[in-house]
């Protein structure tokens, strides 16, 4: 163990080919990270352009058609290309085997295949921009999507292909978690991030095929007109919504569950405290995964579905909220009597608590049917899902990225600039989206290119906020990229974490661990273990010493 080695997964093999054909989960994770960051940048640019157009009512910069294409692209790119793969396929790929003490995921070749399928899907999705762009919104509602003249097929085919990438990642993770845990690591000794990825994988595997078949039918409908979504031919366009949300509601938990997993890691590491209610958090991830399949109809309270369905869906919606609430309380209790430090990942954890609380509580408002009738398809919903998806998932993703960055690259980033970017993102986010709650409750519908003058002031603040967000992200891009080349060398365990990924070198060697690690303590045993300057200190040793001294 003491052999000083500088060989690691980044430099052991060289050249572009060694990356493109790699079977190493860490390299595949990094290629994913690179790809999803490009997608995030693109989606972000689309968002800034949307906000720019909405600065004033009427036509400022784009025509209505261009605007409609922009919000469609923003939604589709952010959801299918960024947020779904961001945590599982990029960060998860890197940390899952490390956290389990494994050498790789169960199926490395499938892992690489999933990345290339992602790339092909992304190319199809982005090709739609050249081929005349899509203007349906990312939800592709029929019959609009079957009748519009834009290139719906290229985009939906892209989403269909991306679905396979997501399924393969899910299959791979499930097999990995079942079969490749280090000796001694029983199910309830796994890090909670692993539980979260497990629950996520279950949803990916069960929900994605249904979206796949639905998009496939949409494509066939557009090409040869099979009539099943076409009201003129005896088909039912609303059926598409049912099938679409059967996937897309569970999909929001594909997005948030891994984020919650990251928060569980961050809150323990930076509080140096055993997680409060381990089993409850683990079970609530599975609970969320299961109930998430039964709530899709809450997207359709105004669609003409029966009152009985609405009642059932509303009821179940509240019960998917409870496990999320439980997690929030558990994290809070974890901080109690901790030893808290405020490095960048912890700042993101605090931001998550703040933003996700708002996202969750406004979700309760929307779950009440009578209120949803008013709020449905207004900016209130837009604000709500940005608070959960961006305030929740993206903030957790950023926290996780800052947390594992030293492990990934072996370099530290500038803590000072990280704080500046964090502050800009946190404030900018709230300015952009808190205003939208009021826009929505006052009646401003979403996907509006033009709006009544009375909504102008709030739209203006929202746009200003988006600029602040943009600057925050540019600063982050700068100091992170700078750190890869010029950052100071990172220790193996800069934050004093007790999960297995911190027991190997930074960056890890190609096969992750010199020797097969064996679980010696549980992931959050901060009551008896701590790590100071990469050295593990055990409580029993300290006691012995004290006894000798006495």
């Amino acid at each position: 163990m003491s052999v000083a080695t500088t060989a690691n997964y980044l430099n052991e093999e060289k050249g572009l080919k060694s990356w493109l054909f790699t079977l190493d989960h860490k390299r595949i994770g990094m290629m994913y990270l690179f790809a999803v960051m490009i997608a995030f940048f693109l989606g972000g640019v689309f968002a800034i352009l949307i906000r720019l157009e909405l600065l004033n009512p009427g036509q400022d910069f784009f025509t209505a058609d261009t605007y409609n294409q922009l919000f469609t692209l923003h939604g589709a790119v952010m959801i299918f290309l960024f947020i779904i793969p961001a945590i599982p396929a990029a960060l998860g790929n890197f940390v899952l085997p490390l956290m389990l003490g494994a050498k790789d995921v169960a199926f490395p070749r499938l892992n690489l295949a999933s990345f290339y399928i992602y790339v092909v899907g992304a190319l199809f999705a982005l090709y739609s921009i050249v081929a005349g762009a899509v203007d349906t919104g990312w939800t592709f509602y029929t019959p609009y999507s079957t009748t519009t003249s834009t290139s719906v097929i290229s985009m939906t085919l892209g989403a269909f292909i991306l679905g396979f990438s997501s399924i393969f990642t899910g299959v791979n993770f499930i097999a990995t978690i079942h079969k490749l845990r280090a000796p001694g690591m029983t199910w309830f000794k796994m890090p909670l991030m692993v539980w979260a990825l497990y629950a996520t994988s279950i949803i990916q595997v069960l929900a994605t095929p249904v979206l796949g078949i639905t998009l496939l039918l949409l494509i066939i409908e557009r090409t040869i007109g099979i009539g099943i979504f076409d009201p003129a031919m005896g088909g039912d366009p609303v059926l598409f919504q049912h099938f679409f949300w059967f996937y897309s509601h569970p999909a929001v938990y594909i997005m948030i569950l891994p984020g919650m997993g990251i928060i569980s890691e961050l809150v323990t590491t930076f509080s140096k405290k055993k997680i409060f209610g381990y089993k409850l958090i683990a079970y609530s991830s599975l609970g969320i995964a299961l109930i998430s399949f039964l709530v899709w109809g809450h997207h359709m309270f105004t669609s003409g579905q029966s009152e009985f369905s609405s009642m059932v869906f509303s009821f179940l919606t509240f019960f998917v909220g409870i496990p999320s609430g439980i997690k929030m309380f558990n994290w809070l209790a974890t901080m109690y009597k901790g030893r808290i430090t405020f490095e960048a990942p912890m700042l993101y954890t605090i931001a998550f608590m703040f933003l996700f609380a708002i996202g969750g509580l406004t979700g309760i408002m929307l779950g009440a049917i009578s209120i949803d009738i008013h709020m449905h398809d207004t900016y209130f919903v837009v604000a709500h899902f940005h608070y959960t998806m961006m305030g929740g998932t993206v903030i957790a993703f950023l926290g996780g990225m800052h947390y594992w960055w030293p492990k990934i690259w072996g370099r530290m980033y500038s803590e000072k600039w990280a704080r500046v970017a964090w502050a800009l993102i946190f404030v900018g986010f709230n300015v952009t989206f808190f205003t939208q709650f009021f826009l929505g409750s006052q009646g401003m519908p979403r996907r509006y290119y033009n709006y009544l003058d009375q909504y102008q002031p709030l739209h203006m603040y929202s746009t200003y906020g988006s600029w602040m967000l943009g600057v925050g992200f540019l600063i982050m891009a700068y100091y992170l990229i700078y750190s890869i080349y010029k950052g100071p060398k990172a220790p193996n365990n800069p934050w004093g974490g007790l999960t297995m990924e911190w027991q190997t070198t930074s960056p890890p060697i190609q096969h992750n661990f010199e020797e097969q690690p064996v679980l010696e303590h549980e992931p959050y045993d901060y009551d008896t273990r701590m790590v100071v300057n990469d050295q593990l200190i055990k409580k029993e040793d300290v006691k012995e010493k004290e006894n000798i001294n006495v």
Partner: protein, 215 residues
């Protein structure tokens, strides 16, 4: 490598032993099969919805499907599942030639299935019993008969694609058997192919009564 004991060539580096590798592969396959079930599950959902909406039309339109051909195909597929299982058994016993023969048999029956399907399809295409806008048959009185054929063609079409993919995989496994890749100690790919093939068979066993034997 520092590993002292010899590892068999087919054991991948990140697994501790063959048992772990085989278990992982089997689990992965089962999970993948679940996604396949849900893929078809979506279509069964559409089927259920439209059958509930247009019960008379489904009743009338299904009579134009050829029950004799459908029944034959059911037997053909079940037989192919049997030969697939026998191929695995043969490899467990180390009988390479038998394995190849059974795999060839499976391929043959899969081919027969597709040929019969081809005759069914071309008959329908000739008469205009086609999905959606392509429909031009005028023998069915009930409204919206094209919906039935949309459902029929997408379901059997997707199933047909699965049969085709299955044939490619069986062919590849057969080539690997000839190359002596497998032994009674290592025949996991044949077993996994078998799992997949049984699922393809199983889906047909659901499709057949739902489409051909309504009522």
């Amino acid at each position: 490598m520092e590993h002292a004991e010899k590892k068999p060539s087919y054991l991948q580096h990140h697994f501790a032993d063959m048992e772990q590798q085989t278990d992982a592969a089997k689990l992965g396959m089962w999970v993948f099969l679940v996604t396949e079930v849900l893929l078809f599950g979506g279509l069964f959902g559409f089927y259920t919805f439209y059958r509930a909406w247009y019960p008379e039309m489904f009743m009338e339109a299904h009579k134009y499907l050829d029950v004799a051909m459908g029944t034959t195909n059911t037997f053909v597929l079940i037989t192919s599942s049997l030969t697939m299982a026998l191929a695995i058994r043969a490899m467990q016993l180390g009988k390479k030639k038998q394995t190849i023969a059974y795999l060839a048999g499976t391929l043959f029956f899969a081919g027969v299935f597709l040929v019969i399907k081809y005759f069914e399809y071309s008959h329908k295409i000739e008469l205009g019993m086609l999905p959606g806008k392509l429909y031009f048959f005028d023998g069915i009185q009930a409204a919206n008969p094209h919906i039935f054929f949309s459902v029929y063609f997408t379901m059997t079409g997707l199933h047909g694609i699965h049969v085709l993919i299955g044939m490619i995989i069986i062919g590849w496994v057969m080539v690997r058997t000839m190359r002596d890749d497998f032994s009674p100690e290592y025949y996991n790919p044949i077993e996994l192919t078998g799992l997949y093939w049984h699922l393809v068979d199983l889906i047909w066993i659901f499709l057949f009564p739902l489409l051909y034997l309504i009522g």
